[in-house]
Amino acid sequence: MSDAASLANLADTLFTLTILAYSLASIAFAAEFAFSPSGRKVLVAPDAAEIPAQRPGFSARVGQVAIGITVLAAALHGTVLLLRGLAAQRIPLGNMFELATAVSFVGVAGFLYLAIRTPRLRGIGLFVTLPVTVAMVLIGLFLYAESGPLVAALRSRWLLVHVTTVSIGFGAFFTSGIVSALFLVRSRFEEAGGAADGVRSRIAYRLPNSEILDRAAHRLVIFGFPIFTFAVIAGAVWAESAWGRFWGWDPKETWAFIAWIVYAAYLHARATAGWKGRAAAWINVGGLVVMVFNLLYVNLVSSGLHSYAGIN
């Protein structure tokens, strides 16, 4: 077996291990959730969610383990990309499998950054690792493409610039969208006075308070939006030398435009009276839907110039 093929095989094995590690992290985060004190026993205001932090019991230790496993999983995840790159002697962003793998990696990295900066955000770990686990399984099942050389159209320096920045921006939007969805759950709980009845309320009770969630989601968009803007500009520069025009309303371009508008609207809404809070959070969730649609629908269903999925 050639070196390239064995590297690619190793990448495939590590991909499976990565999924396993994210599943373990999800179980650990779920355990932290289950063992943390429930809101039913103490009748308190929503701010009391900060109380568990003062009692570092069993659940807190489980939470630390969960973060540890997530870091390990992310390291495996990054290694998959590294090996794919080494196997094909190019940057590992040449088809949809590699792109989606990279986006989920950035998403997890974004979460880890938040969790380390603001320890209370560790509480959302389950809602990051679980979707990432599911996404990775789906990526492995439906988007898998053998490691191989790039098609002629992708052999350009701009691939590195354009696709790397798209992945980073998308990854930040991914985690931000999840945080905003959790904000929506939590803020309703707070508005209702913090009564802990029903599954939703019991989940909401253990989430960080809505102000922290709102700020985290915003911070991620502030990080992702300029990078995504740059990615679109780099894409336009590349399109100018590849397709003869910098913008031509190709389906991928159209949806990038829509996504850009939605995130611009989010940033404006968050600074506008009457829109900040829940309305802005809904816009952010909508932005994530647009990004995912742009990845899946435009590559797999519609026919355009960005048909590099590598799936037949």
Partner: protein
């Protein structure tokens, strides 16, 4: 919102309905002002933003004329009742539709209305001094006091010095300091939006004065940059034929390279070109991702294909050699290509001929005489042709697709099928009237596109200015620090725009000033 009710009910602002109606001119001004306020409110801008995003959606879900005429035609065939309705709404060319333009023009008017007062306000605040310190600093979001034995003036001197070093702009008045930092945030905001306007204007300029033309060129052939020589072209309304820069191009050689697993590795065309009529020829190699740039004109290699070559021998022995037509690839992975060779002038009393066929670069028999191609490279070429005789109808004046035959003519009997065969190079097909058609080989052709957009550099600069403005407005925070001496104490308060001041930043300033005060006491 209160503004919109004001629009609908002009009498709401103090005018009693029973009182005399204000003169029409006043009502008009008031109404217009109300509309203007509505249009320039952030809420309206947000709604317009959403409308713009929503309006773009059909542009990706429905086939679009500028992208693919054939896809639109197919949609008309598939949805005969719905398509004309969608067409009337402009949904097959969304980004040129009047309602799409209406949304973004409203948005930009709204933006200008918002931006002009903001720009003046910002210029004024850049010129004016920082605001006076409030009397009770302890009410600000951030507050600290530093005990000091120094006199008030001396302590303020030190604080002022430290704030200046930390790049605050400082105002010292009435025994207190106001310091401000981060005006770049608003500058960035304004730059971003102004650059957005510049981007739109550059796009419009490019659309008005830009053009593009495409042409299929076989190896050994060429073309010049005039509209007559393009297969298809589109030009902005302000472009005139004489504006096209003089450029003639000959395609010398075309090469396609593949990886061992048949992934396309590169497509290149070796060209010679001259920029003056009959001027010196220059050599260049163009390919995917590497166009030729001459002045503001760019030449792209956008596609390729094969053109089979035939020799037709008429019954009287006349030989017509080197007849070929480009066949369009239907599948890039095997390069199976379809096309038609139309032979119109075979002699005064002879029928015209049309060869409809499929070109297979590496032919393989699927059994029962059906051929397919198993490789995109021309390793073992073959053609499968059907020959028709009659009147092809090119002289009827109705434009025809050069790659297909008019099927109506076959149905009406104007074209009659006279033979069919699979041919390898050198093979011949003999027609009933004694004509022989020989497949002699193939040439490769390249699809070339000429583009000119006089404003694309302006678009790029605008986009980069937007990015710079965006970074400034997102990353910079505007904040203020106030310092006021008390009894043996220096009071400090801090606040930031859009929320409480960053505690770390404020603490940092406090620590610096405390350190400087302590040092000053020890120093002399």
């Amino acid at each position: 919102m209160s503004v919109s009710t004001e629009v609908r009910l002009p009498s709401a602002d103090g005018q009693d309905a029973r009182g005399p109606r204000p003169p029409w001119r006043l009502r008009l001004v008031r109404g217009a002002r109300g509309w203007w306020r509505w249009l320039t409110s952030m809420r309206t801008a947000l709604i317009l933003l959403f409308l713009l995003a929503l309006a773009a959606v059909p542009g990706s879900l429905l086939p679009q004329r500028p992208l693919s005429q054939t896809a639109v035609a197919q949609y008309f065939v598939d949805h005969p009742t719905l398509a004309p309705v969608l067409d009337r709404l402009g949904l097959f060319d969304v980004f040129a539709a009047p309602w799409f333009a209406a949304i973004y023009l409203l948005l930009f008017i709204s933006l200008i209305g918002c931006l002009v007062p903001r720009t003046w306000g910002h210029i004024r605040s850049l010129r004016s001094e920082a605001p006076r310190a409030p009397s009770r600093l302890s009410r600000l979001p951030r507050y600290a006091d530093i005990a000091t034995e120094l006199g008030a003036e001396q302590a303020l001197d030190i604080a002022e010095e430290e704030l200046r070093v930390a790049r605050y702009r400082v105002l010292r008045k009435d025994g207190a300091i106001s310091a401000e930092k981060g005006l770049l945030k608003e500058t960035g905001n304004i730059v971003f939006h102004l650059a957005l306007l510049a981007l739109l204007i550059s796009l419009a300029v490019g659309k008005l004065w830009g053009y593009e033309g495409s042409v299929l060129v076989q190896e050994g052939q060429g073309f010049c940059n005039t509209f007559q020589q393009y297969d298809t072209y589109s030009a902005g309304p302000l472009v005139e034929g004489g504006d096209l820069s003089p450029l003639c191009v000959d395609l010398e050689d075309f090469q396609a390279r593949y990886e061992p697993d048949l992934t396309p590795a590169s497509f290149t065309g070796d060209i010679t070109y001259s920029t003056t009529l009959g001027g010196p020829d220059q050599q260049a190699r163009i390919g995917i991702n590497s166009p030729l740039r001459v002045g503001g004109t760019r030449l792209y290699l956008t596609g390729r294909g094969f053109a089979p070559i035939f020799t037709v021998t008429l019954p009287d022995g006349t030989e017509l050699a080197d007849l070929s037509a480009p066949f369009l690839p239907t599948d890039p992975s095997t390069m199976i290509s379809e096309g038609v060779l139309k032979l119109l002038d075979l002699g005064a009393d002879r029928d015209q001929l049309a060869l409809e066929g499929v070109f297979l670069p590496t032919a393989a028999d699927m059994g029962s005489g059906l051929l397919t191609s198993v490789d995109p490279r021309p390793l073992d070429p073959a053609v499968a042709i059907v020959v028709y005789a009659g009147t092809v109808g090119l002289d009827s004046g109705i434009p025809q697709n050069v790659f297909t035959l008019d099927q109506d003519r076959i149905r009406r009997g104007q074209l009659e099928r006279v033979g069919a065969a699979n041919l390898r190079p050198g093979d011949s097909l003999d027609l009933p009237d004694g004509t022989a058609i020989t497949f002699t080989g193939f040439k490769e052709f390249a699809a070339l596109q000429m583009h000119r957009d006089p404003a694309q550099l302006a678009v790029l600069i605008s986009a980069l200015a937007m990015l710079a403005g965006l970074l400034a407005t997102l990353l910079v925070r505007r904040r203020r620090v106030f310092v006021r001496p008390g009894v043996r104490v220096l009071e400090m308060g801090g606040l930031a725009q859009g929320g409480s001041a960053d505690p770390a930043e404020f603490e940092h300033v406090v620590r610096r000033i405390r350190g400087a005060l302590a040092q000053e006491r020890r120093g002399p």
